[in-house]
């Protein structure tokens, strides 16, 4: 049987292979990673009948082109990039709303398991596609494992607002953290999102401790940082809150300049 492949023609700003989070190795400094928008990732996989965490592409800010070797069922979810399909060529513009688009192919991409996961660890340089973001000319092999019977009808493209509320659990945050609006800064990436706004008091260094995606740190500058999937495993800034896991995906779709407000919830409301 001929290998079915996807060739990356225009890799865009940052396109990586994402799959199941890599847990179990934080004790030696390996972060968990995985898709920033777990919902869109799972939706793209479901549309082609894959398991929810089958290896797929996370495309940041669109502007991505690829070429299939064969007609292969595929699906996209997340940011709407006005995708066009011509013959075997797929062309994505910059997103109309949101930031990250997930491209799943039926059968998933063939990606080896490293330290228990197929997802990319950019910091460690392993997992995913050779431990790095995709480049023009990379050719990914399409897998064969899937259960096409579960494929669902496509959903309309999601609209992602640029003013959002997210729920978080308090860890003695200053009162103004909850009342002020926060603007997404330009220096945001898969490790964390910097928020700009009126600086808060009480930030600074504390003894190093474990951190995880969702933790809100407050450095001495007074402007909070929300840690995301590729966060380091330990941190030395004061942790003032943690975004509940059910709302964490929202950060994946927030462009620089968007506004975030935090709503305090009790632990019992987080499920």
């Amino acid at each position: 049987m001929t290998l079915q492949t996807l060739e990356i023609v225009r890799a865009g700003l940052q396109t990586i292979v994402v799959a199941e989070p890599r847990t179990g190795h934080r004790a030696v400094g390996v972060g968990i990673g995985g898709a920033l928008d777990e919902r869109a990732f799972a939706r793209a996989n479901a549309l082609v009948g894959n398991a929810p965490e089958a290896p797929a592409l996370e495309i940041a800010y669109g502007a991505f082109d690829a070429r299939f070797s064969h007609p292969v069922p595929f699906a996209m979810a997340g940011a709407d990039c006005a995708a066009r399909f011509d013959g075997l060529d797929l062309v994505l513009d910059a997103p109309r709303s949101g930031v990250r688009t997930y491209l799943a192919v039926r059968g998933g991409f063939e990606i080896p398991v490293v330290l228990g996961s197929r997802t990319t660890d950019l910091r460690g340089g392993f997992g995913g596609w050779n431990g790095r973001a995709l480049r023009n000319g990379d050719v990914l092999t399409i897998g064969t494992e899937s259960d096409a019977a579960t494929a669902r009808a496509p959903e309309p493209p999601a609209q992602y607002p640029t003013e959002i509320f997210v729920r978080a659990i308090d860890r003695r945050a200053p009162a103004e953290f909850w009342t002020h609006p926060w603007r997404v800064g330009h220096e945001s990436n898969r490790m964390g999102m910097r928020l700009n706004g009126e600086p808060l008091a009480g930030g600074g260094d504390v003894d190093s401790h474990a951190v995880f995606p969702g933790v809100v740190q407050l450095p001495a500058s007074g402007e909070p940082i929300v840690l995301l999937a590729d966060a380091q495993t330990t941190g030395g800034y004061r942790a003032i809150a943690s975004v509940i896991q059910a709302d964490l995906w929202r950060f994946a779709q927030l462009p620089a300049g968007a506004t975030v407000r935090f709503e305090k919830v009790a632990l019992s409301d987080a499920d």
Binding site: G29, L115, G124, D207, S208, Q232, A239
Partner: protein, 218 residues
């Protein structure tokens, strides 16, 4: 039995619990935390156990382990650690290092900052027995405590955008080896060819919490 005072346990987010020893920095505390971490990682429903400076975080799967059970696990593990930690460190590891030159571009500056000769600086660093206080920053990176107080050096004012894999460095009161090429602000004094982290090896990380490290000059 080691007395560290009464620890404080708090919930951190939905699926983590933090034990705060509240006893400041010491080798004894970090060795005890390493011992407790090893015991806790065997707990049913524990996903990851991560030590910090004077604290320990248990990440758990709430479907398999209740927060209450996790809390009890932390209390028990810490009590056992206080009772036994004096005798139970991790494994001893020797790391061969080339000091100075192109491998240690900041060695002369570190020696100068402390008003000692380069050879004396190397001798004091080699004389140390270091303990893995915390793993973090990057895969396989160990914060090593036990640095001679006369070698404590603030981080570089201008961090480097690229520090070579295997670089041995000093940051404040800690020393450590960069396992992979990465940005870094520590003062680089030497380099090893030993691979500290290899995701295809078992175990992937050469060092883990509580291990004892000696540097050997080559």
């Amino acid at each position: 039995m080691v007395e560290f005072g009464t620890p404080n346990i708090t919930r951190f987010g939905e699926s983590a619990l933090v034990l705060d020893v509240g006893a400041g920095h010491s080798l004894a505390v970090q060795v005890a935390l390493g011992f407790a971490a090893r015991e806790l990682s065997e707990l049913e429903g524990a996903i990851d156990v991560v030590a910090g400076i004077g604290n320990l975080t248990l990440f758990f799967d709430p479907r398999e382990l209740s927060a209450e059970r996790g809390r009890t696990g932390l209390v028990d593990a810490w009590a056992h650690a206080c009772a036994h930690a004096r005798h139970l460190g991790g494994k001893p590891i020797e790391i061969p290092v080339r000091y100075g030159g192109a491998d240690g571009p900041d060695l002369e500056a570190v020696a100068a900052a402390h008003d000692i000769a380069v050879e004396e600086c190397i001798a004091r660093h080699v004389a140390g027995v270091y303990a893995v206080y915390v793993m973090g920053f990057a895969p396989g990176f160990a914060y090593l405590g036990g640095l001679d107080a006369s070698l404590h050096t603030p981080r570089r004012a201008q961090p480097r955008s690229r520090v070579a894999a295997g670089s041995l460095a000093i940051g404040g009161s800690m020393t450590g080896v960069y396992p992979l090429e990465s940005p870094g602000g520590w003062n680089v004094i030497g380099r090893t060819d030993l691979q500290l982290f290899d995701p295809y090896r078992t175990p992937a990380s050469l060092l883990s919490l509580g291990d004892f490290v000696r540097f050997v000059r080559v």
